[in-house]
Amino acid sequence: MELSLPTLAALVVLGAAAGWLGALVGIGGGVILVPALVLAFGVKTQVAVAASLIGVAATSTAAGSAYVGSGLTNMRLGMTLEIATTIGGITGGLVAMVISPELLAGVFGVVMAITSALVFFDRGGHEREKEPTEAQRQARPAVLGWESREKLAGAYFDEHLHRMVHYEARRIPVGAAVSLVAGTLSGMLGVGGGFLKVPAMSLGMKVPIRVAAATSNFMIGVTAISSLFVYFARGYVQPLLAAPIAIGVVGGSLLGTRHSGKLPAKVLRLTLSAVLIGVAAQMVLRAMGVHLGR
């Protein structure tokens, strides 16, 4: 692939858009990067997945560093589930290398359609709160969150309720099983897998959705690198493709964390959901041999 300066600039902008939306709407950004690289830039699916995994790692690191300070992330819970997601990530990476790009595009299309529905019906728990009022600020304790050492439990300060909310994760095997599937899809498709991890933690393990979203975001980076190492070692990383995307993603993610809670996230989610369903259809068509783009 020959990269002109306008193409490089377009890759930076693409990465920035994916990182910005990823941090803002709570998705890894891979659902945007992979189809854009495949459909608009004509990149082989596996190479696009490798570039996307780098973007997902960047989004998670940038957005995760913002969430860690908020006291919402439960690192012990995240680390426990990471055992399953990293095993899944390796499995997914290996599967992606033996199946055809068309089949991979088809699986991606189906997962995107599901993601679109989940984004559409999302309750918005990943969104950071709006700026607190003066009364809320005064009620804020010095420490915004803590996690137990004895069990997968913790507490975070809820500014709307003006108190610490305590929680304890239940049904760990359910969370681990869904994390394994999420990790496998992440490794195969270059997506973060947060769309599965967040409901697994909030609905399956009864963890507050804000804690689930922050913890999922924290986990996504480790999941992504477990398969990225496989792609990188086997030569699927194209540096001139990956670097501008990663640089864009870092900038976009940092901007996204600042805009979080300040922009009409509901409108963004609905727009993203509509875009995803359209691109999902294109990916499925490509899998069936119908090329609408390049």
Binding site: S65, F229, P239
Partner: protein
């Protein structure tokens, strides 16, 4: 839900806050280093007039054809290693707190990541 915190809870609060700040610093440093390496490498590569995008293998970084490509490769590696170092940092932090159960969990994750490197190389 919403119960009063005990002294033990307060100590755990303080430890969690300190851990979070350390991890946050590590993530930010890794992000800054990797972005800088990739940006410098990209500019050097473009200055050479190279527009091709050859694949780069992790275990062949040392034989990259030029410094620009090597820096981009190192930047990608630094970005990938940042979450891995975070796992290692938590092994150390939790070991200092004698929280052996979660030290074991973090070590298991570290070993799985090492396995992914070994599988990739193989």
């Amino acid at each position: 839900m919403g119960a009063e915190l005990t002294d033990k809870d307060k100590i755990e609060e303080a430890l969690a806050e300190r851990d979070h700040k350390r991890v946050q610093l590590l993530l930010r440093a890794g992000l800054a280093l990797s972005t800088a390496l990739m940006a410098v490498g990209l500019v050097m590569r473009l200055a050479l007039g190279e527009r091709g995008s050859p694949p780069l293998r992790l275990f062949e970084l040392g034989s990259a054809p030029d410094l620009g490509l090597l820096l981009i490769g190192l930047g990608i590696l630094a970005l990938a290693m940042t979450p891995a170092l975070r796992v290692l940092a938590l092994v150390v932090i939790w070991a200092r707190e004698r929280d052996w159960r979660f030290v074991g969990v973090a070590v298991a994750v570290t070993l799985t990541l090492a396995l992914s490197l070994a599988i990739g190389k193989g």
